[in-house]
């Protein structure tokens, strides 16, 4: 492709050539032609400038839009998906799984004695703890094409498309182990004196007659069982 304004520049060149070689019937013709040539030159310069300015503004807007999109999806602290974006993804995956008659797993994760952690170590260290734990999710779910979201303060949710309950429990065990391996001291914890997590796991093959929200409640109930039992463990939902 020739340059963006190549054709216009060629027109200018031709006009200059004509003016130089004086192929005009009269001086008046040549004068009028020169006036038109000069006007065209100015207008072309303006057009080029407008296009440049528009490109610049559009690029800026595009960058801002990308930033906004990122902000609207991501929890700024943990870099996991925020609740509303996670729910959009969840709904989509639910529909896909229903169509393909595929299983879908959800893990509901909660940090054990996190209130006590914040009370003991302060909120800044509490934030660091949340970030470290979020990293363990990402590490363990990438191979499963999983999605992780921050649901509330220290509550997280993980979606594992195409994964059954056995797979969900396996991932949960690995997350529990990896969090324990972080060896984050937690004197206020009644488990090991270290930061630990509890997980409620549930799996389903979605059908049209199952309300998709009830599935999340199952995971929540399983998490409740895990917390009530001994914490630092995973409990599957038994319907």
């Amino acid at each position: 492709m020739e340059k963006l304004f190549g054709k216009e520049r060629q027109v200018l060149k031709k006009a200059e050539e004509l003016l130089r070689t004086s192929q005009f019937d009269s001086d008046a013709d040549q004068k009028n032609y020169r006036i038109l040539y000069e006007e065209y030159k100015v207008l072309l310069r303006q057009s080029i400038r407008v296009v440049h300015l528009a490109d610049r503004v559009q690029l800026e807007l595009k960058t801002l839009l990308q930033e906004l999109e990122q902000i609207s999806k991501i929890d700024p602290l943990t870099k996991l998906y925020n609740r509303s974006f996670f729910m959009n993804c969840y709904l989509e995956e639910w529909k896909k799984a229903e169509q393909a008659e595929n299983s879908l797993s959800v893990l509901m994760v909660d940090i054990d004695f996190f209130k006590e952690y914040n009370d003991t170590y302060g909120h800044i260290q509490g934030d660091t703890c949340l970030q470290l734990i979020a990293e363990q999710f990402v590490k363990n779910i990438t191979a499963y094409h999983g999605l992780a979201g921050r649901f509330g303060g220290d509550e997280f949710i993980i979606l594992l498309p195409g994964t059954d309950l056995a797979g969900a429990e396996l991932v949960s065990e690995k997350i529990i182990q990896d969090v324990r391996d972080l060896q984050l001291e937690h004197t206020g914890s009644k488990t090991f004196g270290k930061v630990t997590v509890s997980i409620g796991a549930t799996a389903i093959i979605p059908t049209a007659d199952i309300p998709f929200m009830s599935f999340l409640q199952h995971a929540d109930q399983a998490l409740y069982q895990a917390k009530r039992a001994k914490k630092n463990n995973v409990k599957p939902y038994i319907g």
Binding site: Q46, R49, V50, L53, A54, R56, V57, E60
Partner: protein, 126 residues
């Protein structure tokens, strides 16, 4: 000559042209639905003013955001001012932008590039 005053709206800037002091201000975002309709009286006023007055003239523009049609009008305006400078008028443009508004600063630099005789200063403000 009468001053020109147009109030700011969400998509059109404030216009305050003072014929006595020669200070012409355009301030606010510019993306009018009908750019020609909005700016025709503005350009007409400046044209008449430049014919009428030999006063030094400062155009202060603080337009943090503008659409492509507005930029075409600004180019027409700057060309008009440049012609008048070539004819001996003393005109000065101040393109005012907030320090952090890189887009407005860069656009000011683009405008400046085409001008050879019209003084055009980019003024950064807090």
């Amino acid at each position: 000559m009468q001053n020109l005053d147009v109030g700011e709206t969400i998509s059109t800037p404030l216009i305050h042209f003072d014929a006595t002091t020669g200070i012409l201000e355009i301030q606010g975002e510019s993306y009018p639905e009908n750019v020609s309709k909005f700016y025709a009286p503005v350009i007409d006023w400046i044209r008449a003013y430049l014919l009428d007055s030999n006063h030094d003239c400062v155009l202060k523009m603080n337009v943090p955001y503008f659409n492509s049609s507005s930029s075409k009008v600004f180019l027409i305006l700057f060309d008009l001012l440049e012609q008048n400078v070539q004819n001996g008028k003393r005109i000065h443009v101040k393109w005012i932008c907030a320090q952090e508004n890189e887009m407005a600063i860069e656009c000011g630099e683009e405008f400046k590039e085409d001008l050879t005789e019209l003084p055009f200063d980019i003024v950064l403000c807090e």
